[in-house]
């Protein structure tokens, strides 16, 4: 209760602000519409009501987005190209494949970096530096390059998702594998443990909190990668393609609906990993 009441208050305040903003932002557009339709006798409440229900508003009101979501998710056949479920499915598939590949590569590279000192010294600065580079700028090019090799469909987009999720996971996992205390590492030494034993019996278990934290960042990054990739390769659908199509045709309600779906997808994926992480860490008696 202690957390829910403030959250609900803030959320309802946001909704109220949203409605006011929608009415204010759309009013001038709606005034023009009224002026064009010879309806000169409207009242202020007519104007407000109409501003909140325009077909192409500057800012759609929450109920318009909700009804658009209902129309495109529940009332439309999920296999139809108009359905958001269909597009969200494409995005989800790319995100999950990209995330799994990126995650495996990221963890693998982190293992290599902590086990081979030469690699660490030569690779790690580049990986850290790559965090400061807007790598998403590469997305359109990856699509084109893969197209040259006749690799189309889902692969280029999953590749970009993998690519974006890979760096934060590597950095997080290297930190995680380094997290055991010197005391414990020394203990492993007194047992004369081999490198791989230290890795499997000490470093890997100790890195679990970092693992889940970086997986959460990684999956969110993978989704961003998939959506941006769909913007640059919009012909075969996905939520990013819906965003682009909406912006071409001025369909604001459609953009917002796609945006909310992407946000829900991202929230669900991060929440799922968070849940698995919490349960696992609790079972393994990590301090909360």
């Amino acid at each position: 209760m202690n957390r829910i009441v403030p959250l609900l208050t803030v959320l309802s305040a946001l909704f109220a602000i949203w409605y006011v903003a929608a009415a204010l932002m759309n009013a001038s557009l709606q005034q023009d519409l009224f002026a064009n339709s010879d309806n000169k006798t409207y009242t202020t409440s007519d104007l407000i009501a109409a501003s909140l229900n325009m077909e192409r508003p500057k800012l759609p009101a929450p109920h318009q987005i909700a009804s658009e979501l209902y129309k495109l998710i529940i009332a439309t056949d999920p296999t139809s190209k108009r359905s958001l479920v269909y597009h969200a499915g494409i995005t989800l598939e790319e995100t999950v494949i990209g995330f799994l590949v990126g995650g495996a590569l990221g963890v693998g590279l982190a293992i290599m970096i902590v086990s081979v000192p030469v690699l660490e010294r030569s690779l790690m600065p580049w990986i850290v530096a790559s965090q400061t580079v807007p790598i998403i700028a590469l997305a359109p090019m990856i699509v084109v390059i893969l197209n040259q090799f006749d690799i189309g469909g889902i692969t280029p987009k999953a590749a970009i998702a993998a690519y974006l999720s890979f760096f934060p996971i590597t950095v997080g996992m290297v930190k995680g594998f380094r997290s055991p205390e010197t005391l414990h590492l020394d203990l492993m030494r007194t047992y004369s443990a081999t490198r791989s034993q230290v890795l499997t019996k000490l470093r890997a278990p100790a890195s679990l909190p970092f693992f889940f934290a970086s997986m959460k960042i990684g999956v969110a990054a993978a989704l961003v990668g998939a959506v941006v990739a769909e913007v640059t390769k919009s012909e075969d659908g996905g939520l990013g393609a819906r965003l682009l199509a909406g912006s071409y045709y001025g369909q604001t309600v459609q953009i917002w609906a796609a945006l909310f779906t992407a946000a829900a997808l991202s929230g669900a994926l991060v929440g799922l990993i968070d849940l698995v992480g919490r349960v696992t860490l609790k079972r393994l008696a990590f301090p909360a």
Partner: protein, 256 residues
């Protein structure tokens, strides 16, 4: 981050040079067509011959980046200080801020382009939204990070709220604020570049990348990416440098 010795710098540099050489060799020996992967030398040549275009793109994009970065971070910091006095608002806003940080905010780009037009203002708006929440969440945590002992000390000095804020809690929050500032450099670059995919006047790094990809002028794309990468790294380095000077007292800078 202590000063690096020559040896520490040598191995990553060698590795970088080796990758470039290998790249050049593979492209030349295997005859990879330039539409797939141009050689580093070709990219360098393109970079050198298209300085005016690249400069114009850089100026266009950096305007949106900087304007958005300043406004977004300032707004995040101010809101964090404002809600700091109200635990109620904190409990309501911070989980929301954490949630929003995990969302693909980049998707608001087409909406901002519609609201603020094709020029840099719409890019700045995207950057504001992307940088606001990381700053809000980090600054709010930072403001709570001053220890109970220090707070009690301020109390015994009869310091009022403003004095405690200015002399204890804001300095204590500085490492967290700088952390957000560093995260936000990358987010700002990403926000501005992706927003340009949705429409620009015919200039800007994101515009250049998306149009030159369409013309299969991949060397120009790579040249723009080099500019973007260097800009991003420099931006980060400048903020990290300011951080070093401003929070030199912090434990992470102690010589080991």
């Amino acid at each position: 981050m202590k000063a690096r010795s020559l040896g520490d710098l040598a191995s990553p540099l060698l590795f970088g040079v080796a990758v470039l050489l290998l790249w050049e060799a593979v492209v030349r020996l295997a005859g990879v067509p330039a539409v797939i992967l141009p050689a580093p030398s070709a990219i360098a040549l393109k970079l050198a011959t298209s300085v005016p275009t690249l400069t114009a793109d850089f100026i266009q994009t950096i305007r949106g980046v900087l304007a958005g970065y300043v406004i977004g971070n300032a707004a995040g910091l101010v809101v964090a200080i404002l809600i700091d006095r109200s635990p109620f608002l904190q409990r309501g806003l911070l989980p929301l801020g954490n949630l929003v940080s995990a969302l693909p905010i980049i998707g608001v780009a087409p909406i901002m382009v519609m609201w603020f037009g094709f020029d840099w203002q719409s890019k700045a708006a995207v950057v504001v939204i992307m940088t606001f929440f990381p700053m809000l969440v980090n600054a709010a945590v930072g403001l709570r990070s001053a220890g109970a002992m220090e707070r009690d000390l301020m109390k015994t000095y009869a310091a009022d709220y403003r004095q405690t804020l200015g002399k204890l809690r804001l300095p204590a929050a500085a490492p967290f604020v700088f952390n957000a500032l560093k995260i936000n450099t990358t987010l700002a670059m990403i926000g501005a570049i992706v927003a340009e995919f949705f429409g620009t006047p015919t200039v800007g790094m994101g515009f250049r990348i998306s149009t030159e990809v369409g013309h299969l002028a991949i060397d120009m794309v790579w040249a723009t990416i080099v500019v973007a990468a260097v800009t991003g790294s420099l931006f980060y380095a400048i903020v990290a440098g300011v951080e070093r000077r401003a929070t030199f007292w912090h434990a992470s800078y102690r010589a080991r």
